[in-house]
């Protein structure tokens, strides 16, 4: 059993590592010459289905066409809406640091499915709102140029990386403590032995699952830290603060056509689409975590330690990732 748990812990850790290492921002060598505010840069290499690629391309082009048509034809809004939604779903299926952070947070911390879905939805909504706010303030109100907007987005980007690092530090602290507690706790087998059936005078006393008293500390109650909304919301901010380039492009384009409201609506729909994909990823992280916990509950101290170790590893990944992203921003001369 513990071997299986070890396998699972290793799989989780590898998963988190892959998600992070595949992040385009991580692979980013330097500022792309044609970078668009939002700091999103495509990653080199990789590419599976030409099909998915073609879909994404198609949605993007449809978006562009619909936004253009909108000027003369109000019905084009529905095309724009549909394309935005689809773009949201598929775009989010690509690599992105937001999903990596969210998934790692889920692995490290979250065990409730509904709450996980809510967090994913909030992160997606924040990402859309960030893009709308950026373009509304910078372009609409201040008539900023492309370069000024890119600079502003750079600041937001830096802030979001700092938020990731902070989230990682906090998680690592909590999970590190949880790990140490499990380390110091007596082995579960021993504990069961100690609690087991010390003579009671009650002949009806049966040691079954329903007997109502604790025979051994339930591993889940040993969690280093319980759920906190402050922690969850900081994960949402870390995952969703950086606006995406696609949304910025649509907003600026619709603004240039005098149709900012339509653009904002399209971006909101894009966020809804993104929420579906990130929600699925969050759900998977929760399920994986759940399975891991079911394993550790039934098994030895070693398996419990491995589970905790996986959580700690996910937390450390978030921390390292945030720091690496920050270092990247600093290296290219402060956004």
């Amino acid at each position: 059993m513990s071997r299986r748990a070890a396998f699972f812990a290793a799989a989780l850790a590898c998963g988190a590592a892959l998600l992070l290492l595949c992040d385009p921002a991580f692979a980013e060598a330097g500022r792309h010459p044609f970078a668009v505010a939002g700091g999103e840069t495509a990653s080199a290499g990789g590419g599976f289905a030409g099909l998915v690629l073609a879909w994404q391309n198609k949605f993007h082009q449809q978006l562009q066409m619909a936004a253009r048509a909108l000027k003369s034809d109000q019905n084009a809004f529905w095309t724009l809406a549909a394309a935005s939604f689809a773009y949201g779903v598929f775009h989010a299926a690509g690599p992105g640091h937001g999903k990596a952070v969210l998934a790692s947070y889920m692995i490290a911390n979250e065990t409730a499915l509904k709450r996980g879905l809510l967090l994913a939805a909030l992160a997606a909504a924040l990402q859309g709102a960030a893009a709308i706010a950026l373009v509304a303030v910078a372009a609409l109100a201040l008539n900023a140029t492309a370069q000024q907007m890119t600079a502003a987005a750079g600041l937001v980007e830096t802030a979001s990386y700092a938020a990731i690092a902070l989230l990682g530090a906090r998680l690592a602290y909590d999970k590190g403590r949880g790990f140490l507690e499990s380390w110091r706790a007596p082995a579960i087998g021993e504990a069961v032995g100690r609690f087991a059936c010390v003579a009671t005078d009650d002949p009806d006393h049966i040691h079954g699952p329903s007997c109502g008293h604790l025979h051994a500390p339930d591993p889940t109650t040993l969690d280093g830290a319980g759920f906190s909304w402050a922690g969850a919301l900081s994960a949402v901010v870390a995952a969703g603060l950086r606006p995406c380039s696609g949304a910025i492009l649509i907003l600026v384009f619709t603004l240039s056509q005098g149709l900012f409201a339509a653009g904002a609506a399209a971006v909101a729909l894009m966020s809804a689409g993104t929420a579906i994909t990130t929600g699925a990823i969050a759900a998977l992280a929760v399920l994986a975590k759940d399975a891991a916990q079911r394993l550790s509950r039934r098994s030895s101290k070693r398996a419990l330690l491995l589970g905790r170790g996986a959580e700690l590893a996910a937390a450390l990944f978030v921390l390292g990732f945030g720091l690496a992203l920050l270092a990247g921003v600093t290296a290219r001369g402060g956004a």
Binding site: F34, G45, V52, H60, M149, V252, A288
Partner: protein, 214 residues
């Protein structure tokens, strides 16, 4: 227990697979290029005119230009400077070869970013070869973004021209192979091997222009 784990792991692997998957372009560029010859008949470099798509164009001219008019070259100059400064790190997106050896370019000159009546922007610059090369052996180049953030494609009509070429020089364009069939194969192989086909869509979709002189 093991059975219950399998779908979870498989699903997790699928997510990973899709996340290592691919990037897709946010900016489209229609490329027009000129292969420029020096007076001694050697190839001196490549002159590019890159026309951006409507969305990037709208982004580029945002906040510039007065009274709804397209911005002037001067107004666009700072953006042009930023664009071109970071081009070197990406090898100017121009990959030239002769005798299977990669040729190097120097910093671009004659840089200008222009917006037309419809506010579509075009970036123009001349990209000199570090050392001019004889054109008697085939010289070829491709324009692509290896990160595939930008999708470069040659313009449909007269995408590549020869400037001041000696008599008898010829030009041909080699289109890339169709993508989907080959890559579906890669997909299934990649899934069971290392989860990354290691493919590079930017270069896979790039047309190669070949110049040969007698």
């Amino acid at each position: 227990m093991r059975l219950r784990l399998v779908p979870a792991l498989l699903a997790f692997a699928l997510v990973l697979q899709s996340s290592v998957a691919r990037a897709h372009p946010h900016v489209w560029v229609a490329v027009r290029s000129e292969v420029v010859f020096a007076p001694d008949g050697k190839i001196a470099g490549v002159r590019h005119a890159w026309e951006f798509d409507e969305m990037y164009s709208a982004f580029a001219v945002q906040g510039l230009g007065k009274d709804g008019k397209p911005p002037t070259r001067e107004e666009l100059a700072p953006l042009a400077k930023t664009n071109v400064e970071s081009l070197a790190e990406f090898e100017f997106f121009t990959y030239a070869k002769q005798n299977n050896a990669k040729l190097k370019f120097k910093e671009p000159t004659e840089v200008a970013l222009e917006a037309d009546e419809k506010k579509i922007v075009t970036l123009r610059f001349f990209l000199p070869l570090e050392t001019p090369v004889s054109a008697q052996k085939p010289f070829s180049f491709q324009v692509y973004d290896p990160t595939y953030f930008v999708s470069f494609g040659f313009e449909k009509v007269e995408p590549v021209k020869l400037a001041k070429a000696p008599a008898g020089c010829s030009l041909s364009l080699v289109e890339p192979k169709p993508l989907v069939a080959a890559d579906s194969q890669k997909l299934s192989e990649a899934f069971f091997q290392n989860m990354s086909p290691g493919a590079d869509f930017g270069v896979k979709l790039a047309t190669r222009a070949i110049v040969a002189c007698p």
